[in-house]
């Protein structure tokens, strides 16, 4: 005897509940999503550097390049004294780069500082004789902002200290500078920060100038 199976119609998948859920999720995510990309600038504080006696010994030999930031402008010094560009000794006011208007750090003033620091980094103190640990000290600098300076100006100055200026002529900037600039990445395994390019390569000499910035804090 032949058996006939009753034809079973496959019902259509009801997508409306999923649609409702997705329609609810999208506005919620749109509201909470950040379309502005937020990054970071890495900073260290003075105490971190002078912990051991070896560090203290190293500090005596270090170049101690320091940028002092006041409302009037910038003053650059090292353990050899004033590091102002030739013809700008700093004077009694101790200023190498003066702001046209008090408290306003224009792009021109910051660019002038960056080009001068690049000159100090590459040409004047480019050789290892000035550094105990060339890999570390060569990239180290201290920034001392005065208390009334705005935080925004400090951040702009930190950019100028970190990145090699594009289009510099004396000495010329490297031609193969990565577009990502001087990037710091957090190594989750070692749980520490490292200087790396977007593809993981070391970009210290191609993009970074003074990326180990020590920010003076407290009453200093």
């Amino acid at each position: 005897m032949r058996k006939y199976r009753a034809s079973q119609e496959v019902g259509e998948l009801n997508l409306l509940p999923i649609m409702n859920l997705i329609s609810l999720l999208i506005p919620f995510l749109l509201l909470s999503a950040q379309f502005i990309q937020i990054g970071i600038i890495l900073i260290q504080t003075p105490r971190l550097k002078s912990q051991s006696s070896a560090d203290k010994k190293q500090k005596k030999k270090a170049l101690n390049l320091t940028v002092i930031m006041t409302g009037k402008g910038y003053y650059v010094k090292s353990r050899f004294g004033s590091e102002c560009p030739p013809g700008k000794a700093g004077g009694e006011e101790k200023l190498c780069f003066r702001n046209k208007e008090k408290g306003k750090f224009t792009a021109d003033t910051i660019r002038a500082l960056q080009l001068h620091l690049w000159y100090l980094y590459k040409r004047k103190y480019g050789s290892s004789q000035y550094y105990e640990d060339e890999k570390m000290d060569h990239h180290s600098i201290t920034l001392v902002p005065q208390h009334d300076v705005k935080y925004e100006a400090v951040v702009k100055t930190l950019d100028a200290l970190r990145e090699i200026p594009a289009g510099a002529k004396d000495p010329p900037s490297p031609t193969n500078m990565p577009a990502s600039g001087c990037r710091m990445t957090f190594d989750k395994k070692a749980h520490t920060w490292m200087v790396q390019g977007a593809k993981g390569e070391d970009v210290t000499e191609r993009a970074c100038m003074y990326h180990l910035v020590t920010l003076a804090i407290g009453a200093s």
């Binding site: 379309f35 990054g39 890495l42 600039g181």
Partner: protein
């Protein structure tokens, strides 16, 4: 006469049948014409995935608000990592998104919450909150086998004076946080 009547009746019958068929076909067509939402669902799923990805990109959530917290712009391309975050807004200081009852007015912290008075740098409630965080992180680091380096993320309003930032960094330094990441808005200008 009868023939004519019959013919008229037949004609009317045929017309009625045809009309019935047309109505039936229309009803059948209407039943088949359901809304096709599959492609719409595909598009929505793609948008949802994109938004979920961008939502999970930043390990620390920083919400900018005019008059409260506006980050400065920077050329830095470095990305955030998961760490203790300190928000310095125009009106308050927060640790990990929670209020520590430290109010800010005109870029200054109330002197009552400072250990050494108006000229001091040590902000007591901030120190207590950070010390507690440091203790927890040290235990976590010991278990995970990495060294506690005292990484902290500082998201400060661009208009605050350096003095206020210095006070916060000084206090965080006392609580064993010595490596700071300043949160900025990425720009290439």
């Amino acid at each position: 006469m009868a023939d004519a009547t019959n013919a008229a009746y037949e004609y009317w019958k045929r017309k009625k049948k045809a009309a019935k068929q047309v109505k039936k076909a229309a009803r059948r067509d209407k039943k088949d014409m359901g809304l096709t939402i599959t492609s719409l669902l595909d598009a929505l799923t793609i948008i949802l995935l994109f938004l979920l990805k961008s939502f999970g990109d930043n390990p620390v959530n920083i919400t900018q608000k005019k008059g409260e917290l506006q980050l400065p712009k920077s050329m830095s391309t470095s990305n955030m990592a998961d760490m203790v975050d300190i928000h310095i807004g125009e009106s308050a200081i927060l640790v990990h998104g929670k209020s520590i009852h430290v109010n800010v007015k005109n870029g200054k912290v109330d002197e009552n919450v400072k250990r050494d008075g108006a000229d001091g740098f040590f902000i007591t409630p901030l120190y207590k909150a950070l010390k507690e965080k440091a203790k927890k992180l040290k235990t976590k680091a010991k278990r995970a086998g990495w060294r506690f380096e005292g990484n902290a993320l500082v998201a400060a309003d661009k208009a605050i004076p350096y003095r206020l930032l210095s006070e916060v960094l000084y206090t965080a330094n006392q609580a064993e946080f010595k490596l700071y990441s300043f949160a900025i808005v990425k720009t290439r200008e």
